[in-house]
């Protein structure tokens, strides 16, 4: 990472602890609020930027615009009532909430879900990853002026939402994984329609390659921007593609295999340059990997069979005292639920660990320093953050 004091050893003046002396009255600095309503911000959050000319001196992340107190609400609801509530925590990728919540309860209650349900959950999570990556790719392109890529990627994302609708009836909130299994398996003819969708995605990705990844302006603006040093990965709690682009092969699907991932053939994708361009290329590779994994799942998964474990009356369901943490690999990194039960019919505590919690606050505040104001939106997007999972 560039030495932030290299060009600024004389200006602005420093406190004894090395922090900047910012006197807004001196008219040498400008404060800019990027967000909460801004095309260059992910969801509803804001960056408070102290600028010197067009370069960022200091950045503070502000959240709270989406706080609905999910964790608190979950403490006052039956276990089953929380199932449709928890999905709201991450709109573009809600299924990880369903899975992690259900998996913690199943582990604490000692429930084993049927084999077909495990395959179905794996399929849904991978489809969810694919749609989330496609949505993100459009946002990343849009931040650098390539609006057409966003239209293409969101079109093919919409085709995948059709497949979700076939399975569950829901396009955005699928709510297909209640504790105990899934609500159903795939409908007749699903495999052929899924294959057609996957081929359309692959074809669109070839167009996006030419328009975005071979684009001189996109490369010029993103290569070298937002470098994450590998040493920062643990120090800042970085996970997912942001860590893998820095050469750290962290992937929950491989490190802590869950559902049917051990039966799928894939390698963890890594890179070394660790800038915005590399992170975007890595996510492009992840899209193609998800396409491949979905094909593998479609071949291997059973098309019929039991898909729901025998459950007690969920209105009187009590889970013994205990606590556990279940994680999964979402598009942004490690997603996890820490659930504590006390023997009653309600969770004592549910804590949601979203990867954006570390990426959008501590990491973004660090990476924004020295960044040009024109690039902060692209940098923010490259960390792939969703504000609701910060404030739950």
């Amino acid at each position: 990472m560039a030495d932030i004091n290299k060009y600024r050893d004389k200006f602005p003046d420093k406190n004894p602890d090395g922090t900047n002396i910012i006197d807004m009255e001196s008219q040498k600095f400008i404060k800019i609020w990027q967000g909460p309503q801004h095309p260059g911000i992910t969801g509803n959050m804001s960056l408070e930027l102290i600028m010197q000319g067009d370069e960022v001196l200091e950045c503070k992340t502000h959240v709270g615009y989406l706080h609905r107190g999910f964790e608190k609400l979950m403490e006052r609801r039956l276990f089953i009532q929380n199932f449709p509530l928890c999905v709201r925590i991450a709109v573009p990728e809600p299924d990880f909430n369903e899975y992690c919540y259900a998996a913690t309860l199943e582990e604490l209650a000692g429930i084993k879900i049927p084999d077909a349900a495990e395959w179905m959950r794996t399929l849904i999570l991978e489809m969810s990853r694919l749609t989330s990556f496609l949505m993100h790719l459009g946002g990343q392109a849009g931040a650098f002026g390539l609006g057409v890529v966003a239209q293409w990627s969101n079109y093919v994302r919409d085709l995948m939402l059709d497949r979700f609708e076939e399975i569950s009836g829901g396009r955005i909130y699928r709510m297909h994984m209640p504790p105990g299994g899934v609500r159903g398996l795939t409908p007749d003819g699903f495999e052929a329609r899924m294959e057609e969708t996957l081929r359309t995605i692959e074809s669109t990705m070839r167009d996006i390659d030419k328009t975005m990844f071979d684009n001189a302006i996109f490369k010029r603006r993103t290569v070298g921007l937002g470098y994450i040093d590998p040493a920062m990965v643990d120090e800042y709690g970085v996970t997912g593609p942001n860590a893998r682009a820095a050469g750290i092969p962290k992937d929950v699907r491989k490190d802590y295999p869950y559902l049917k991932y051990p039966e799928l053939d894939f390698d963890v994708i890594t890179a070394t340059e660790s800038d915005v361009y590399t992170r975007t290329v890595l996510r492009r590779e992840e899209i193609l990997l998800s396409v491949d994994l979905i094909r593998q799942i479609m071949v291997k998964m059973p098309k019929s069979g039991e898909y729901m474990a025998k459950m007690p009356n969920v209105l009187h369901w009590k889970i013994p005292k205990g606590e556990t943490y279940i994680r999964a690999e979402c598009t942004r990194g490690e997603y996890g639920y820490y659930t504590v039960t006390d023997g009653s019919g309600y969770p004592r505590r549910v804590n949601v660990r979203g990867p954006s919690y570390t990426h959008a606050v501590a990491l973004m505040e660090r990476l924004a320093i020295d960044c040009n104001i024109a690039d902060t939106a692209g940098l923010m997007l490259s960390l792939h953050t969703y504000p609701p999972e910060i404030e739950r």
Partner: protein
């Protein structure tokens, strides 16, 4: 994991471990030993990833439980370090010197549970709430429903159905 616990027992005064899975264990540590224990886990035992830091309110016991979930990705192990604090003196030593994201967790705990971490950067800055005057809202004695009813007037014509009764009719009509 068992070898790790044996090593830790020789160095620190820790509780009997509660194994949740082969690679996930929860240990209780005394408040005064907690930061040196966590530092040891980070610097010596390879638990370099702070997965999360959160609190559980055991109102009936007058305690807060802090849980530091630490991960060793080389050995694929998780250790949940539990520290119990007196609810009336909810204060804990900060770990911001170990992880850069720790101050964010600590700011949230101060705001939502009222647990103080003296010396933690920007600890008194609001994180999610703005101008909050009530008791910290994630404490068990804060009643969300009562607060909502007192703060926001009911809209005319709005009906409330009991979800438990509705679910009973739909799921178990024979009962």
């Amino acid at each position: 994991m068992k070898a790790l616990i044996k090593r830790l027992k020789q160095k620190f005064n820790i509780s009997d471990p509660m194994y949740q899975r082969d690679n996930e264990v929860f240990i209780t540590v005394k408040k005064e030993d907690a930061v040196s224990f966590i530092t040891h886990m980070n610097k010596v035992e390879g638990f370099t990833h702070l997965v999360l830091l959160t609190a559980v309110d055991w109102l009936e016991d007058g305690k807060f439980q802090l849980t530091y979930l630490l991960n060793n990705n080389m050995e694929k192990m998780d250790v949940g370090v539990q520290v119990f604090l007196d609810r009336e003196q909810a204060e804990m030593e900060s770990i911001h010197h170990l992880w850069k994201q720790a101050p964010t967790y600590q700011r949230e705990l101060k705001e939502m549970f009222g647990i103080d971490f003296p010396g933690s950067p920007r600890i008194d800055e609001p994180f999610i709430l703005e101008g909050w005057q009530e008791i910290p809202p994630y404490r068990r004695d804060f009643d969300t429903k009562a607060y909502t009813e007192e703060t926001y007037f009911p809209r005319p014509g709005r009906k409330t159905h009991d979800p438990a009764e509705y679910m009973k009719q739909k799921l178990y009509p024979e009962e």
